[in-house]
Symmetry: C2
Subunit: 340 residues, 2 copies
């Protein structure tokens, strides 16, 4: 954001992290962590339900606190960091949710869609643009389409008024060369800054974020000690460390961020780790949130859950398509019988 900063650290601890604790972020967690991030000089702090504004529901998972309360709590703690909110059209409406977030004093609204669905973001992006707040955009599950197609989707968001485009490796499926290709092409093709959001399923979150910066990205998502969905995000303290080693300024106080990392397990009680199931999620390009329903279906049909994941990957399954799981497990079970 500032002129003296090469890379803005965009902190998703209090949003993506909500996935790690069944969306039950507490008042204390928000206040404690937002204060630490602000004191460390993190550029942007995103707050809310893991799926974003308006997503709290019985089916997706209910937040402990309402959107309004989470945003207001964070607003009071942030003196220098910008307050951001994650918005996915379909969950969040302009009339109900975004206007509420604006009233709560958010500085940045990041409107995100599945990577092929940029069309759905026009109304939301335009609305935020009209309010004078900053509007960022995100393309989720960015590994599912080619770099060229990603550019087409990003150009739409730019035309709607987005001030930057972040590509989200939602399934933690990228290897560094994948990121380099996509980010460098986006940087070349867009007139607005490009960002990157990693997940650590394949242990590549930091390396992928570093190569994104080398490819020209200037906004990088991270969370404290990786606290986030599935195998977690890029650890923001590691991003700060590695970027400083590579002489990219981030404006953060590294020691304060390391202190926050030392407190992370106390604040959030659990920190993400790479499990064998998150590895398979990354390899197959299917989000980790499928792990539990896949395990259940695999048990019912007596098939290997990893085979189910790989087949779902071949079918291009995305969050919301959990119905596919049963079908895939059943087909695999029949195939085993046929092959026998």
């Amino acid at each position: 954001m500032s002129k003296n900063i090469d890379v803005t650290l965009y902190d998703v601890t209090l949003r993506d992290g909500s996935h790690a604790i069944k969306h039950c972020l507490t008042k204390e967690q928000i206040v404690n962590y937002a204060s630490l991030a602000d004191a460390a000089g993190v550029g942007v702090v995103e707050v809310g339900h893991g799926i974003g504004l308006g997503a709290s529901s019985l089916q997706i998972g209910k937040s402990l606190l309402a959107d309004e309360e989470m945003l207001t709590l964070a607003r009071d703690c942030l003196k220098s960091s910008l307050l951001a909110v994650h918005v996915v059209p379909g969950y969040a409406t302009v009339a109900r949710d975004i206007s509420l977030a604006i009233d709560c004093g958010v500085d940045v609204v990041r409107v995100a869609a599945q990577c092929t669905e940029a069309d759905t973001t026009e109304q939301h992006i335009s609305y935020v643009r009209g309010t004078g707040r900053r509007v960022f955009a995100g393309l989720m599950m960015a590994h599912m389409i080619s770099p060229e197609m990603l550019v087409q989707e990003a150009l739409k968001m730019e035309s709607y008024g987005a001030e930057c485009i972040t590509i989200l490796d939602s399934a933690g499926a990228f290897l560094p060369e994948d990121v380099y290709k996509r980010v460098s092409l986006l940087v070349k093709s867009l007139n607005i800054p490009v960002g990157f959001h990693a997940h650590n399923n394949l242990g590549m979150a930091i390396a992928n974020s570093l190569i994104a910066v080398k490819a020209g990205a200037t906004i990088i998502d991270g969370s404290i000690s990786g606290f986030g969905g599935g195998a977690g995000n890029a650890s923001i303290e590691l991003l700060a460390a590695v970027f400083s080693m590579e002489k990219y300024s981030t404006g953060v106080d590294l020691y304060k961020l390391l202190d926050a990392a030392d407190m992370a397990e106390d604040i959030f009680e659990v920190l993400p780790k790479i499990t064998s199931s998150s590895v398979v999620s990354g390899m197959s390009g299917v989000v980790s949130v499928f792990s539990k329903p896949v395990a259940r279906a695999a048990e019912i049909y007596n098939v290997d859950p990893r085979d189910v994941f790989f087949e779902l990957g071949r079918l291009g399954a995305i969050a919301g398509q959990e119905d596919l799981i049963i079908e895939v497990a059943q087909n695999l079970a029949e195939k085993v019988v046929d092959d026998a």
Copy 2:
């Protein structure tokens, strides 16, 4: 090792992992894990005290089991994987330790030295060569010297009869470009295979291992779920996953390795994680084993332990030079007073 394999996975779980549990590997841990690694088809399984053969002592840390017992236990479990032992001249002698390891049936002796000390390995390498067993070589703390100097040291080991040279990023200090430069120059300069051993202090263990392979390395160290010293090694199951995605064959059964990863925490009770102190260790290039004495000295002299680490890094401190810590902490404390 085999002609159909692009990358040999060299498993250091039962050696580097001993650092994570104060060198107290149990009989059950050795038997359980060696059997799993063997069944998964891992190329080489290294077993013993973290510092290697003959290193068990009150000062360094005593092993629960003698070298002979550890090697014999593992020998009985390994049907297809080669059994390897880590040897550092100064701790292990030819007459006492290496001959014992040969008697225990080790297939591979890896003789390692600090990266500037290849000279010390001549006798050990020649001896193993004479026995007909395989002799590998390792250069530890490889970040401390230039790629060109590393080649000079590696050439010495090649001349002594080493069949391959692995460079060890003992402090987890490398970023991918550092690895690429070193490995590609070694591959170009040597007539024997090149290997790489990562630590995950900066979250780069997998990315560094992958780029090592892209630079021509064919032997890559890893351990189950990263179980190893400090922030841990490259997770061998992630190496297998990522290499298979990149079409490098390793000869392992990925599902069996993932199963082993699922059991790792039960077998070893603790798994390594990246702490703020391991980040500083990686950034400063000083091994994590300094963390506790640094913390103690920092408390006594009322200075920031991270400043101590960075100063030790500037001084090029290596394991065994713990005496420097007090001196550095004291100097920093005096500097604070002078500056005041």
